[in-house]
Every structure is written in C-alpha cells, then in structure tokens.
Symmetry: C2
Subunit: 291 residues, 2 copies
C-alpha cells in the first residue's frame, strides 16, 4: 500500500511522541525535533507507510539515548492486558462460538496502537472491551474459520505489545494446527518483540520466532530468510494490525488480516468504514478521498 | 509564547490540509508535500507559533496555484454564520445580561478554527451553540465589563472567517465607544481578512482596518505602522482566538483575550483547562507537561 498525504502528519506526530518518551528536557526535545526536521526531506515518500516509519524510527533511535523508547509504554500495556486476560478467557469459553469471540477480542486488542494514536487510556480500553462481544466482524469470517479448520500450519504475525495477550487467547482456539507466532526482530514504536511474546507466555501455546526486521509491519524483503521460508510454507497466515495490512495486501497467499480500521487512510484502502472490526483476505479498495 | 513540541505535528497537518484544498491531484499533493518537507528544516523553531505558521503558509502559497487556499472554506463558514446570526441576536437580546451572553457566543464562534483542527462540521457548530448559553466564562469577566464601560476607543482583533459574524454581535453590545475592527492584512489559513469583515457588514457598526500582516496572529513588529498606532492608542484591545493569544500575551496594555482553549499547548500556557471559555487579561501559566 502506498503512503498517502494523510500519513505525513501521523509520522511527525509519532516522532514528537517518541521524543517525549525518551528525551530528557523540553530543550532537548526541541533541539532533536529540529535535527529531525532538517533530515525528513531526505525520505522517499514513494514507499509503504511501514517502510517510511521504519526509516523514521531508525533515525529517532539514532539521535536518542535509547534503542527502545516505547519500552515503558509496552510494559504498561502488557501489565494491563495480563490483568484482563483471565476474565476475557472466561467470556470466550462461555460463548456459543468461542473462535469468533476470540477473533473479536483479538481485534479489540488492536486498539492498543501508539502508531495510530498518541496515547490510549485505560478508560478507552475498558469501554472497548465492554462493547467487543456485540461487535460485528466484517470481511471473510466464514472463510477464515474454514481455513483454520483445514490448516496444518499457521503463522501468526503480531502487531503490538499488550495486544499480544489478546492474540494468545485467539491462538488457544486455533484447533490442532502447529502455530508459529512471529514478532518484530527489533523494537519499533510499541510493536511486540520477543520479550513481549515471553511476557504473554506464548511459548506455552506456539513457537515464537522473530521476523528479523525493525519495520512496523511485515516487509518481506527486509525479513530474515528463515522468516520468509516460514511465511511461504504456512498453510494460513494471520496478520494482525494496520502495519501488516499496509505491507502485505499486495502479496499472494492465504493471508487473513485481522484489525480495526483506526484511520481514514486504512478505511479507504481496505474498503471498510472507520472503526470496523475486520477479518478479511479480500479487499475492495475505495477510491481515496482527500476531503 | 514559544512554540512547543506539540505544535510541530499541527503545523504539518495544516500543510497537508492546505495541499488538499488547493492541489489538483494526489500526485500533485505528494510532490508538493515532498517539496515542503525538504524545506521545513530551514524554519527557526525558536519563535512563536503564529510566526512559524506565517512562514509555513507563505511557503505553501508560494508552491500552490492560489494565494488564498482557504477561500472556499471561509465562504462556507461565513454563509453558515450568516444564517445563524438572527436567532443568536434574539437570544442575546432576550438574556438578562446581553453583554456577557454576547461574549459567550463570540467565544463559541472561535471553534471555527482550521488552524487548530482539520475540519469543523456543521453538527459540531450546532451542538456548541446549544451548550453556549450555559458555558461559564473563566478569567476576568468583571474587569472586562468595567473596562468596556470606561473605554472611549476599543480595538477588536478578529480571528477567523465565520467567527467574525459572532464578533459583530458582540460589537453591537460594546456601549458607545468608538470601535475599530482589525482583520489580517493578507490571507492565511481561514483567518478573517477585509472581505470577510465586509461579508459580515461590520462597516455598519465599526471601522474596518487591516493589520498589514499575513501572520495568523498579531505580531506587532510585522504589522503596519498605522495598525501599531491604533493598537497603542486604544483604551481597550479585545484579542480573539488562540493566534492572538500566542502572539500578544507578552505585550503590555489593556488587552482582553477571548478564546476557547482548543489544544493542550494553549491550555498549559494559559492555565485554563482544555475546552474552557476564556475572557481574561491575566494568566497564570501552568508548567508545560509533555505527558
């Protein structure tokens, strides 16, 4: 998916958010944003949003005294999600259709996204969890169920920390297939890495691998050859979140995208209204409207 | 007031909004934002937000085929405000304290601000108008009333098109003082210029002048000498909106600022919570928090 004009303010907001998390003083932050703005013109905008975000966040980590500015935010979201997991698991178990309910909560978890928003409050997460059981899922849910039933191997591509606890609840419902869960290879924004998968104890239900990349999405050419092999061999790929959608929609394969449409650009590109719960492997792209 | 880190994404969002209004195609918009990002690093961030916005919008007008990209938006807001004026005037007349009620509606009109937001829907304006009569006004309202009563000359600095119709309703209530209304000297964002003052027929109730500047605020050093003379001689200055607050808070004089706090930066700098109706000439600045 190509980057559109509306992605640009979001990239800059991600940069200022990152500086707030990791720079020591307002003076430092202003000096660093000045440095950043002097460099931003060098970025080739004719790439997907995750490819541009990868370059931007590499630069930010390069000028900051930390290589993981979002670590504290990720820890907080992991702790919150861990505290919610037992009650959500009970709700899934009590549902007449546990797989669909688990998909619903996995999509709910996708609101914990500091790439699409500058903060996510506990109140917002709780409100979303309350409405989750009633949310209709748009796309290809029946095809998803069928594919899951037939699959012998499933590759699950995660999105964010915190959210990964909700992913675990879905993985617990994915029948008897061999599940591999892939996180990012290095920290970028609040995307889940290996330590987040371990915090959610995913090892108990799936094999954990990383994709070898620091893009906030799955740019196959940038991933390790081992990851690409797993990607090619999986019967079904489950790709969570907007970043994976942005980077994988043009790839062939049995990929099911699970996400919530959180910005107008994704809404236009996926064909689903803003705020929709999506589980789909086919998309009817709307014309991008800039009004 | 100095520019803070949180102003930066807002400037970039203003740039993309402007390109959407005036560039012909998505290809053109992407080419122009690329051009803009290659230039943005040259801007000295150690200035007030209106000074930076002035430089940015000059640049945008320079690369666009129009010198007034917001003209259509301004016309639409003027037409909407014109249609609302008779009923609001009746509400002000029916109030036990018409001056305070007129101040309230003048502040309500300040939500029509495309600098602080990328769009303002009719629904949002109607909802705000419904709640306006109950809004408490924070600051120095009694001092404002006293100053107005004693003033022989009042200089009224406008903010945006559309909003200027609400300003007229307040001007109608400003006793027998000689009123001069000053608009921006040239188009910038959706700030009111002379044609907007004429659309609201301000000439019937005040003398219309312009400040000679294309900053979205009042940077005295950038204004005409004639404007500066009027500014210095006025018994009372009424300064509408965030841009005038950002550029005039450090100036001495009997200046009353009327605005709604629409962003966290202004909230921190004014000491009033987000969303507050403010009519004040003294401010207790909060420490800026970047969290």
């Amino acid at each position: 998916m190509k980057t559109s004009l509306d992605c640009i303010p979001c990239f800059i907001r991600q940069a200022t958010d990152t500086l707030k998390m990791a720079a020591k003083s307002e003076n430092d932050r202003m000096r660093l944003i000045n440095n950043f703005l002097q460099w931003i013109g060098e970025v080739d905008l004719d790439q997907s949003p995750p490819a541009i975000a990868q370059i931007i966040h590499r630069r930010l980590r390069g000028i900051l005294p930390t290589d993981d500015p979002y670590r504290a935010a990720k820890n907080m979201h992991n702790a919150l999600a861990a505290s919610l997991t037992p009650s959500i698991r009970r709700r899934i178990e009590a549902s007449p259709d546990p797989l669909t309910m688990a998909v619903r909560y996995a999509i709910t978890g996708n609101i914990i996204d500091l790439g699409a928003k500058n903060s996510i409050g506990f109140g917002e997460i709780y409100a979303e969890l309350q409405s989750a059981p009633q949310q209709p899922i748009f796309g290809d849910m029946e095809a998803f169920k069928k594919a899951i039933k037939q699959a012998k191997t499933i590759l699950y591509l995660t999105d964010n920390a915190g959210e990964i606890f909700f992913d675990r609840l879905l993985i617990e419902r994915l029948s008897d297939a061999k599940i591999t869960l892939a996180v990012r290879g290095n920290p970028v924004i609040n995307d889940a890495t290996r330590s987040d998968a371990q915090a959610a104890d995913i090892g108990a239900v799936a094999e954990i691998i990383d994709n070898g990349s620091d893009a906030p999405g799955t740019i196959l050419d940038d991933c390790s050859s081992e990851f690409r092999r797993r990607f090619g061999e999986a019967d079904v790929v489950i790709a969570k979140g907007q970043g994976n959608f942005e980077s994988l929609t043009e790839k062939s394969g049995n990929i099911f995208f699970l996400f919530r449409t959180k910005c107008p650009v994704i809404s236009s590109n996926s064909g689903f209204d803003l705020g929709t719960y999506v589980a789909a492997n086919h998309f009817t792209r709307k014309d991008i409207s800039c009004n």
